[in-house]
Structure formats: structure tokens, C-alpha cells
């Protein structure tokens, strides 16, 4: 192929430059994500809703924007929390809030709006409450439907590889203007 022959003929600096351009694109995306997570003080500042347990507020495929404010949560806040040993976080509303008089730790009970009972069924065996350190963030805003792209890419990983390879091809074979 002509393109491959052209690639082989070019001097090493040009190859390095193209490789660097590709790396810069990837790193920029990464750094924007990490920067966002530092600014919002939350490990995962943007999450996608996977279940219908918060209908009618959030539907499956909505994109949620999180941040973790220093002030403690209040009743009625929608929070995203992670249970120990499980890696998928849960987005539910805070139902009850108790504070230990001696050491000030907060104990919270959550429930999904669309669920018949509170979350004790979802917590780990023996766990009755969640605490501040389980909370990944508080929902500050949302965008509907956009998250469906992520859901589709995860359900059909072939699309993900296809999209990534197409973008990689573009970056490698085009010259910057």
C-alpha cells in the first residue's frame, strides 16, 4: 500500500511527532477527566444511570454530574455511594440522617424513589447504614439520554474498539494543518 510505503520512508522525527500528537490527544482527554475529578472533589465526576430505581427523576441513560461538597449531606439530597466490595455505585436519595453525639459520624439511610423499600436490602449483610466515606458524590445536575452511548458501548464492546481504532487511524494518517 502506498500509505505504508510512505510511512516507512519518512525520517524518524516525523514518526515521533505523529506518535506524540496521538499521545497528546489521549493525554488531554485523560487530564481533563482527572482535572474535573480534582475540581469536583469526587472520584468519578460524571456517571451514567443504569437502573430505573430513581424514576421519574432519572431514567436509564441519563448523565449525572457529581461533586462532593465539604458540608455534610442533607435529607432529600441525591447521593452516589459505593458499597464495600462492590464496584458499581448506587444513585439514591437520602432518607434518614443520624449523627452520633460522641464522635459526630453521620449515619445515612437511602432509598431509590422508584423502589418499594429502603436500601437495607442492598447494603452488605449486617450493614444498616452508610457513612460519609462511602459517598462518592452528591448529584448537582444531569443531562438526559446522553449516557445511552456509554451503555451501548459497554454492552457491545466491539463498537468501542471500532470507535477507538477509527480515531487512532485519523490521528496517525492525517497531518496537522
Amino acid at each position: 500500500m502506498d500509505v505504508v510505503r510512505n510511512l516507512a520512508r519518512q525520517p524518524i522525527r516525523r514518526h515521533l511527532q505523529q506518535f506524540m500528537n496521538f499521545c497528546l490527544i489521549v493525554s488531554s482527554a485523560l487530564m481533563i477527566w482527572k482535572g474535573l475529578s480534582v475540581v469536583t472533589n469526587s472520584e468519578s465526576p460524571i456517571v451514567v444511570v443504569l437502573s430505573e430505581s430513581m424514576e421519574p427523576a432519572f431514567a436509564r441513560g441519563d448523565l449525572l454530574f457529581l461533586s462532593l461538597p465539604t458540608a455534610p449531606l442533607a435529607i432529600g439530597d441525591i447521593c452516589v455511594y459505593k458499597l464495600a466490595g462492590k464496584d458499581i455505585p448506587i444513585v439514591h436519595r437520602v432518607l434518614e440522617l443520624h449523627q452520633d453525639a460522641t464522635d459526630g459520624t453521620q449515619y445515612m439511610l437511602t432509598k431509590g424513589d422508584n423502589n418499594p423499600t429502603d436500601d437495607r436490602a442492598l447494603y452488605n449483610p449486617g450493614q444498616m447504614w452508610i457513612k460519609q466515606e462511602d459517598v462518592v458524590g452528591k448529584v448537582q445536575g444531569f443531562v438526559p439520554y446522553v449516557g445511552m452511548v456509554t451503555i451501548i458501548l459497554n454492552d457491545y464492546p466491539k463498537f468501542k474498539y471500532l470507535a477507538l481504532s477509527v480515531m487512532g487511524m485519523f490521528a496517525l494518517f492525517s497531518k496537522e494543518e
Partner: protein, 233 residues
């Protein structure tokens, strides 16, 4: 495809450029670009000019700008790689500070890179030096800047030869290597700095199918270089 052009300009010596090293190269691997794509043509022409300067006129390329940009770019990538590995290893609240440092460093380096390309490198396409093997004469340095409007067919090349360093000008002119000079101040005062602007259009170099005419490139480059006051060989 070597096309014999009729000499329309009266020159002192009629030089047959089709036998020069760069043109012979093009016989085996002709350059054919998309004649509707101005960017392709500009890059092909840049490369052709550089080829003539390197192969025919025996300049060695100075890679300072490219190397600086590569260094800054890879430093930025290193910071981002470190940040991602670190935040993977150390869980979130503890890694925040280092992450913040890496993010700031990354975006600073990226901005420096862009500023460098815009203000320092500007539109320099080639920087070359020709050293005298005996070490008697001065280094000859040339820089080639190319401007080209986005959708127009014109191609403006500015050849600039930096003045050969003399005892007076030495403080202002950066030298790549120090050349030991014999004798007193230059007896070869004939080397002056010169600027030659070549305003052409793509049609002067490419035919309708996008084939490059290498002898035209060689002739123009040689004429510009000698116009800057430098010998051709």
C-alpha cells in the same frame, strides 16, 4: 518524469538540474499529490524545497525546533502517564494533591508547546547549516519560512541567510558550533546576510494531475540561495 523546460530566463550558466541528486531521486519515486488539496501541495512543496537544500546544496538540517517541541510534548505526556498510574494505585482522596500537580503541569507544558510553535517557530520550515570542512571559512546558515493562505494557490517562501559571524556581530548571532578561525577578521567579507522572497503559486510546480516538477524546484531554490549571497556548492 523529467520535463525539459525551456530556459525562459537568461542565466549566466545554463545548469541542467535534472541530473542533480534530488531530481534523480524523484525519477524513481515521483511525487504525486491531490491537486485540489492545498495543504497536501504545501507539504509536498515544503518537502521538495528541503530535499533540494539538503541533497543538492549540501546543507545539514538543524533540528532544534523539532527537538524542543518533541521534548516539551513528551514531558507533558510523561506527566499525564504518571498521573493516571498514580491515581490507579492510590485511591481517590489521598491522591488528589499529586493529581492536581500533574494536571497543572500538563496544561502548563501544553500551553508552552503551543506558544512555542506559534511565536518562536512560527512558519519556519527548514533551518540548515553548511560548515566548511577545513574550518577556515564561516558557517553558512540558512532558514526557510513559508507562508500560505488557507484556500489560496500562492506559496511564499522566504529564504534568509544569517550573517556569517564576525568578531563584531558574534554577540548577536548564535552559532551552532564554534569554528576555529585562522587569521584575522574575515577576509571573506563577501558573505553577507540576505533575504530572498520567492512568491510563487502551486501552478508553477505542479501540473493538473498533481505531479511535482523537481527541476523547477531545484532551479528556484538555487536561484534564491545564491540571491542570499551564498555559493551554490
Amino acid at each position: 518524469m523529467s520535463v525539459r523546460n525551456k530556459q525562459t530566463v537568461v542565466e549566466e550558466t545554463v545548469v541542467d538540474y535534472s541530473k542533480s541528486p534530488s531530481c534523480l531521486d524523484y525519477v524513481t519515486t515521483p511525487v504525486i499529490v491531490n491537486s485540489s488539496n492545498a495543504t497536501d501541495m504545501k507539504y509536498a512543496l515544503d518537502d521538495a524545497f528541503k530535499k533540494v537544500l539538503i541533497q543538492d546544496l549540501k546543507f545539514t538540517e538543524i533540528h532544534t525546533h523539532t527537538d524542543t517541541r518533541l521534548l516539551i510534548g513528551f514531558a507533558a505526556v510523561a506527566f499525564s502517564a504518571y498521573a493516571s498510574v498514580y491515581s490507579y494505585v492510590v485511591p481517590f482522596p489521598e491522591c488528589k494533591l499529586i493529581l492536581l500537580g500533574c494536571v497543572i503541569a500538563y496544561f502548563t507544558l501544553n500551553s508552552i508547546l503551543m506558544l512555542y510553535a506559534t511565536f518562536v517557530e512560527k512558519n519556519v520550515v527548514f533551518q540548515g547549516v553548511r560548515k566548511d570542512p577545513l574550518g577556515i571559512e564561516y558557517d553558512e546558515r540558512i532558514s526557510l519560512r513559508v507562508t500560505h493562505e488557507p484556500f489560496a494557490a500562492n506559496y511564499t517562501a522566504v529564504f534568509e541567510s544569517v550573517a556569517a559571524p564576525s568578531r563584531v556581530a558574534k554577540a548577536n548571532v548564535p552559532t551552532i558550533s564554534s569554528v576555529k578561525r585562522k587569521g584575522g577578521l574575515n577576509a571573506k567579507a563577501g558573505k553577507q546576510s540576505g533575504v530572498v522572497t520567492l512568491t510563487k503559486s502551486f501552478g508553477d510546480y505542479f501540473d493538473v494531475e498533481g505531479r511535482l516538477a523537481p527541476e523547477v524546484v531545484a532551479r528556484h531554490v538555487a536561484a534564491s540561495v545564491s540571491g542570499c549571497g551564498m555559493k551554490l556548492e
